[in-house]
Symmetry: C2
Subunit: 322 residues, 2 copies
């Protein structure tokens, strides 16, 4: 079972699971402006089951979790900008729903194992680099606070109720099937779209800030590995990129691979500066030690694959979701 | 304005503010089994305004926060046992309501200053002692997770929206006006009631676990000091006791001062062992450095004063709230 199964990471994970012959149930609410997109499962429609539902609905979740061995729990509100405009909705989707899902497992399928999609965003502005899991959790926006709570619920249910669960703290993930209709779900998808459309990518400041990027197939592999071993239960794990890259270098690489688009360096908007965290990159060695996971796709190769995916399919990611 | 103003710490704070001649508005929902008790403001009824309301109600809060200079934000669900039985209600009261309160200030009184009642519980089982504010936040129950989120909301509203706020991470507080009708709101009030009634205090294990205890007048003084200085804005501060004391020594002291009651050491119940955190005591030097606050009442003196308060008033704390 994958919650958020029609979304970016969820659907890529679904493709991997379908290829492995798994019995796959995708749950998605297809809320407009979130990441769900029916086209994301093109090619595997006949090999997966899709159930449209909202993870906040307790009765529905109580029914759907039954008999599922592993639940990849990726449904969520991921826009930190939206979370600052409407904090109550972010709370509903990122906290209330997680409790509903965990209660569903506790009461209706206590032998299920959950892998939660956490985020490096909960660390906030780092005290040191790279950031490992001993770093303080100090979110700079409402979304980060609620994602941290959602993660901690999983750990408490693991420790207290024996519902096996862990969290993967994902860094910036990129690749095919990401939402690019608007710019409120991370900058890299927006940059890719802008390059493909021959537009001008806006980089704040001098672009010297560092980030690490994980190609979505590697992120999906991290979920598979976490789902396959009980050694991760009760743990939180960074899942980060192969090496830090500046925004400037990212855009240079992207424009080279795209062959279209331009870049423009603009001053920081005050609103964004306030919740900016400077450079960030994470240390994933804890997760590698436990599961053997590592990045297999470097940034240039990943961008090339991403562009190759979107070029023929761009229209499917610009129209409103159907 | 004090949310949870008829509760334990809120009402003691109200007594101090009334003595200082402040214009005091007490908000309380008087939810049965929570800490609110009308008798807590006996003697100051004519000097404070009481408004029964639920902090989850946005329209009501939007109205009530207007013109308030300082908001002592103490309303909450404080039972970690209840939070594990009904996590959604804990979320409603400890997260949803905090966003409602902060949104009320942002939109209707952005010059208000908030002091949030945080808890040492969010640290979970400590890696080192004493625990200072650089220690990881790693709650062991749903209540701790939600209290951590409530605290972080305040810090984000301070940093992003300029609504001045800070959090005091309170350790075990004891003293007059605490709920002692049931044993789900901390063990010390329950021990005091048991001693006064000549009953047997149950101590788990050998009672060697350490805790630090703050007399409620000192806790109220911490809120006053935090409310009076902008140097705390955006900060989180431990408010801990003068010195760590074992459960065993606490009970010995209490029985000496009470002159009634007995103690019995019993094995740990499995359910409680699972969410127990071992010894805990906190380092409050950061708060002392900023505000000059320190403990003025030691444990023996505090217990003596507490017993002296409850002896003539015990019935007021055993009957259902009116």
């Amino acid at each position: 079972m994958i919650t958020g199964g029609l979304g970016f990471i969820g659907s890529n994970l679904a493709h991997q699971l379908a290829a492995l012959g798994a019995d796959v149930l995708l749950i998605d609410s297809l809320i407009p402006d979130y990441g769900g997109n029916r086209f994301n499962i093109a090619g595997i429609e006949s090999r997966v089951t899709v159930n449209i539902a909202d993870v906040r609905q307790a009765n529905t979740m109580n029914y759907l979790v039954r008999d599922r061995e592993v639940i990849f729990n990726l449904a969520g509100q991921v826009s930190h900008i939206d979370s600052m405009r409407d904090p109550h909705t972010d709370l509903e989707i990122n906290c209330h729903s997680q409790l509903t899902m965990l209660e569903a497992c506790r009461t209706h399928n206590p032998s299920a194992k959950l892998v939660y999609a956490g985020t490096r965003q909960i660390y906030g502005k780092p005290d040191r680099l790279p950031v490992d899991e001993t770093h303080l959790v100090r979110p700079t926006d409402i979304n980060g606070i609620n994602k941290a709570a959602g993660e901690q619920y999983h750990i408490v249910y693991n420790n207290v109720f024996g519902v096996r669960a862990c969290s993967l703290r994902l860094t910036n993930i990129y690749g095919p099937r990401q939402l690019i209709r608007h710019d409120r779900q991370g900058f890299i998808g927006w940059f890719i779209r802008t390059a493909l459309e021959g537009g001008t990518i806006q980089v704040y400041g001098d672009g010297s800030q560092l980030r690490d990027f994980v190609y979505v197939d590697d992120a999906a592999d991290a979920f598979l590995r976490a789902g396959a071993t009980d050694a991760v239960n009760g743990g939180v794990f960074n899942v980060g990129g192969p090496a830090p890259v500046s925004h400037r270098d990212l855009v240079t690489l992207l424009l080279e691979e795209a062959g279209t688009g331009r870049v423009n360096f603009v001053p920081w908007p005050d609103e964004k500066r306030k919740i900016d965290i400077g450079s960030f990159y994470s240390d994933s060695s804890k997760f590698t030690a436990v599961t053997g996971w590592r990045n297999t796709v470097d940034l240039r190769d990943g961008l090339r694959r991403t562009l190759a995916y979107y070029r023929p399919n761009l229209a499917r990611y610009l129209e409103p979701p159907s």
